[in-house]
Symmetry: D2
Subunit: 347 residues, 4 copies
């Protein structure tokens, strides 16, 4: 463990002098810069969907989706207030589209995922194709792709937004363009992408420069059915139960280059082994109830609640009913850079 | 074009002398070794399923699947007789399993695909999992994986076998082991692989050393539905109509390392542009009728017929009905080695 | 361009209320979060080596390398003071080791590069091998690899340190361990890594899980000679002159997963085309003099000076003598995440 | 082990009948098609360079390089006579260029390696660059690249040619074009490729579609020096001594997509452990003497001799002097297709 060297008057004078030349003595800050373990201000926290929903309904009466461009309430980690971050690298918010509303077309360098919490049939359009969304659907709007949302149903639509906004800001590579129209032109029939790329076949001459999956809606009905089929094998991971990651069918890599998304089944009564990893993770249950012990914090969760597990904090999940949890983190980034660490059971 | 140098008596004497030392003068054979264009003995040919079926039924009365180990009639390219090859690098045959029969468990370095032609419900088991097969299903038995077949239905089952036998023989890497039991033990429920790897998700900690897809049955029902969905986009490739390749979801590469498999829709009335490629290809229509002009050869095809297009022979397909064609070739090998060539339209 | 919606009393009240629940209205911060172009506080700046050197010599009299653990003066971007960063994602500092000193062995998740500015023969040890360093050598200490430095010569040794400290801090994946001994045990002869991995051959059974190059010293003598050889081809890139990136011979990728390092020759009189990219870059000339116009800032540079070009700021380089520039940036990160943008000439 | 089923008259009649329809019963040939172990006709054999040289000198008086296009004597495996093959998949020959001669420019799909046996200073030109060749240099002429050879020295030049001719023939993808001129135009200075790609740096914007190394001459002086440096670590592989593979610096993969090339040091007195692999390998010693036991065959070798080890035949090497062996095989093909097998020590 490095202890900062004593500060003598001579040293102090030296620090002040070099400060004028935009220099700082490493040994005065080394301990804070390179910590023995991950040590951010990010804390465990749970937001109840009931509270979010109430606030969103009120927001709905205060501003239109169009005026807001996106009517979203950011879930700010209590330890990272003012940074629009739920973890150090990721952003999360809940978006509401009321019947008849649109969220106008734009595109940006930031990658976004949507995970539908409530409602049925509102749509997102990406690259000229529209998809109607249902609860539990995992929807992607890739980096630099035109996208717009609309709700032609008669009920409000709520979804969780997960974006790499803090990462893009940190890397200093932000770009955004506004389309001008509320909705982009539709050039492909609904369902085309899923059929073309999702049936374990690819177009014979397909070559894509994109790192993002060409599938932009992974329907819950299909993912859920797969979990049901798999559970019959009775192979439970002690830390994860039955945990799947959404993939880009062109590469087998994560569906998005900067955000990993996961769907996980915990059977009734399952208690996971202690687990920790360096990718701080945002969870939202789709079905079932249970609780998670995150370091010293216990969160009780039910459908649509949203909670966060910080980097390297040990977590234990307990399911009091069959539970399905969606989660996302910056795991693809940490894997690509070779810095991901995991600690299974002996945390 | 290189012309072989004149043979003089002195040269002839020299050739004879060095022959004793296991040496040959390159210039006497160069023209035959390195040809300006692909120039094998492989010829276009079509086998009618009706003929194959009749022969197989007769075979069924002459030998059991068990005595034969595999009751298969090899489709030998007329230009390559005696080499058990349908193209220079690939093998094709039609296999029959009668009600109550088994094809005992074995494993070999050779990779195999099965494409079901007739029958419903006979099974193949691979790596401890059984799959029931239907017409049009694309089934894989990977290199060095235990596999056995059985028919517990009351009707005969016919499928097309495609293997890399000539390639493995050429590379001199053949291995086979016999299991001893007719059927391997089943350790996973039916459908587990498709659910686990086929729903555009992968197990979170999945890492595989295999180059072969972990999905071993790509059901026709699903593939066909995808084609129907895609055709609504009305994007036809002039040479291929709507052609998809089966992929390994872990990599996006071909489903098998040595054999590429494809499913292709040709709408009624479609006439393809002339196309040629260096990967000699075996076709079998699943639905519909039409004809293909292969160089100077015309073949009229219908469901379950099997025909071969040699390397670099220009082909034009015409569909008189909506047609779905399955095909396979050594394309993955040619791609991995960087030798694949295609010529679109201007052949 | 998005304009923040008007703040009404009702909205203000709402913002205050949701603030208590760790929520923030996206539309109040969207413009700042997702900017039309990169927009960090990072500014162009140049540090004169003469100034750095004088400060370091003074530091040498104030603290030992051992007490400091590393005697380094951090070059803090004037726009990012207090963040120990030269760009938003990278750290740079200058390290001094006096004759007879050691910088004790430790290892950390952070990856480090060293680029030697002054001195000859001091050493760095990595993974049991020692390398003696000369001016212009590019030296790597990989993530999580034991490393220590020492100077057994009779002159001070100065080098530029480039690390991914801010990135590792941002991703919340910092780990450090102290070895206990000043120097790790040496298990391989000096020069072994360069011979084993640097001669365009690799050990026949070599397989490495590391994303970092197994070569840890790229000698300047060799790199410089290669540039001299290449310049004879007279192929100059209008934006870069003759610019090379250091590579990991096992993959052809960048030598380090988080930091790209480059060596570049600008012939006397060369004036580059305007160029901008999203990877903010730190430059240090090894030979020659010239100036660079970075946005509206002009910096005059000579050997060992250090200057920074922020993300998306157009730069023009002019060489008044044959010049060789070393540079580094987070390009590998941006490439792996698919967010790198470049703009050549028409900036 | 599969025993061919009994041939009954009825079966015989059936075989004759289906033969007319280009069909064969698998069970009559299965045992020969899928063998328990590799079982080609390829045999161990050694050619003495003295014998080859004498024959080549005679060939030199019988035909010019230009008339022959390439004056090469093919080394035909005694077990594969008439197939122009040294192993089932590869071709080897020895080429002679006399002073003042040229081997005119052509290009073909086949990839070629040259390993220089005798002479100094004759040249090969590839892609507009010329390289002068010395004994032990490993030179590549990539698939579909113009290449020509010439000898402007006053002594004959001999080298070993290794090509994938049988493989390209088997895959039916042969193409050749003749340039028309004896020598292609030179567009790059000699040594440019080695400097540009061989110094562990790559051009910053380099992207290549080729699977073949952009370095086309790996000088022996450099490779040999690396081996000398490495041997100081005293890490000997029991099967291989110190064995390196030539790599493509852009990928870290083999230098050629179809042929793996290796350079190996066996210290005086070294006796290797028994080793076998499925890639039949051609060896040629550059320095030193020794003997190799290949199955039941013993070959005594010295500089420039050429010998072949068939697939899966166990081999033991013994070096009576410090020895350096060059070798090549189809290992990249077997690795890419996932069929390579090795057996170390317990053969």
């Amino acid at each position: 463990m490095s202890i900062a060297p004593l500060e003598t008057p001579a040293r102090r004078a030296f620090y002040d002098k070099i400060d004028k030349s935009s220099m700082t003595a490493l040994w005065t800050v080394l301990g804070a810069l390179i910590t023995p373990e991950p040590k951010s201000a990010c804390v465990p926290h749970l937001w109840r969907f009931a509270d979010i929903r109430a606030a969103m309904i009120e927001a709905g009466s205060l501003i239109t989706a169009k005026e807001a461009e996106r009517r979203v309430l950011i879930l700010e980690n209590p330890g990272l207030r003012g940074r629009s971050s739920i973890t150090t690298s990721l952003y999360a918010g809940v978006q509401l589209i009321l019947p008849g509303e649109v969220a106008p077309a734009h595109k940006h360098a930031q990658s976004a995922l949507r995970f539908v919490l409530e409602g049925s049939g509102a749509h997102t359009a990406v690259n000229g194709e529209r998809t109607r969304m249902e609860v539990g659907d995992f929807v992607i709007t890739p980096s630099d792709a035109w996208h717009d949302h609309g709700n032609e149903t008669d009920a409000p639509m709520f979804w969780l937004d997960g974006l790499d906004i803090p990462l893009i800001q940190f890397l200093d590579v932000s770009f955004i363009e506004h389309h001008g129209d509320d909705a982009q032109a539709l050039t492909r029939p609904e369902g085309d992408s899923l059929a073309r790329f999702g049936a374990n076949m690819l177009p014979v001459d397909q070559t894509s420069g994109s790192l993002t999956s060409p599938i932009f809606n992974y329907p819950y009905a299909r993912s859920r059915e797969a979990l049901d089929q798999m559970r019959r094998a009775r192979q439970w991971d002690p830390c994860h139960g039955l945990k799947m990651r959404y993939v880009n069918p062109q590469t087998g890599d994560h569906a998005m280059p900067t955000i990993g998304a996961f769907l996980q089944l915990l059977p009734k009564g399952f208690v996971s082994s202690r687990y920790r990893s360096t990718d701080a993770t945002v969870f939202t249950p789709v079905e079932g109830r249970g609780r998670s012990t995150i370091g010293d914090t216990v969160v009780e969760w039910g459908p649509k609640d949203i909670f966060v597990v910080p980097s390297w904090k040990p977590v234990v999940h307990e399911a009091s009913e069959d539970a399905v949890l969606f989660s996302f983190s910056d795991r693809p980034v940490q894997e690509k850079l070779g810095v991901l660490r995991e600690d299974r059971g002996n945390a």
